[in-house]
Point group: C2
Chain length 160, copies 2
Amino acid sequence: MTENLDSARSAAWRAYIEASQRLYTQLEEDLRADSDLSFADYHVLVLLSETPGQRQRMGELAGRLVFSPSRLTYQISSMQRRGLVTREPCPDDRRGSEAVLTAAGLLALSEAAPHHLASVRTHLMDDLDDAEVACLTRVFDRLGDRLRAARASSTTHATN
Amino acid sequence: MTENLDSARSAAWRAYIEASQRLYTQLEEDLRADSDLSFADYHVLVLLSETPGQRQRMGELAGRLVFSPSRLTYQISSMQRRGLVTREPCPDDRRGSEAVLTAAGLLALSEAAPHHLASVRTHLMDDLDDAEVACLTRVFDRLGDRLRAARASSTTHATN
DNA sequence: CACCACTAGTTGAAATTTGAAAGAGTGCTA
DNA sequence: TAGCACTCTTTCAAATTTCAACTAGTGGTG
């Protein structure tokens, strides 16, 4: 439990940390360069565009984006100011509200998407062979599942 | 150039984005839970502890951490306030300064390290088999190299 | 119904991050 | 050696993010 990482894992960890940080930085920069959207903005737009009614509950959105509630509130307010989304009270639950994609938001997404996707391909995907893609998918799917589960259970019973 | 990502790559991308975000969040949380250090703090301490004289030029540090210069200034100031590092003028170049690890910083690192490494293992590494570790290393090493190079050349000649 | 513990989302203040200057110094070139 | 273009780091203000309340509302229970 106080063991080190073996050297292969340690190298993997370092490579991952640095490269993932650089990738994120690069994507943000590219996105900003040709679209007025941040990565978070883009991601919100994508998620909204994919649901029926192009709307999502705040909590749902926060969960998918891995954002804290207050961060999401800020994020949506900012997008609302810029006309990309609208906020509507949730019909079922009067505590809740939902973010709704506007026409302008959809337009912004459709304009940004090709650039952004090209950026993802250029910086990452084009360099990967199919086996590597499969490996990444497998690893990160599992990781996501595990972390999602961990968070859910720690929220639930608070093992402290 | 306006092509989509094929569906395998798209799935990989989504899995990666979500899981990497969750992982980062989880590691920060764990670190904070047993050490008063943020991930950035920890990373700075590691980098400093590895150089002879346990010191680094600001620029060098910023490069390795993938931090903007101003972010690094803030980061180091904060760590200086907490006694983890010291700032010293660079002997060779009077424009520069270097961050130097203090005894307290080293101690903080040594106390935090086992917990943090356990956290990395638990959340990520223990779940990976050797082939996956090798794959991640290969992919992210290449990615890091590529992005580092891209940034260097765009800074150099400004292709705009 | 009245109470209570819990959930959804927002708010406010403080901490951090960004982005555009500014301050200082370096080093080449004339 | 004066001038100039560039580099290293910091500073300042604005934008974002966190963290800890707080407001509303929900869903049992008695």
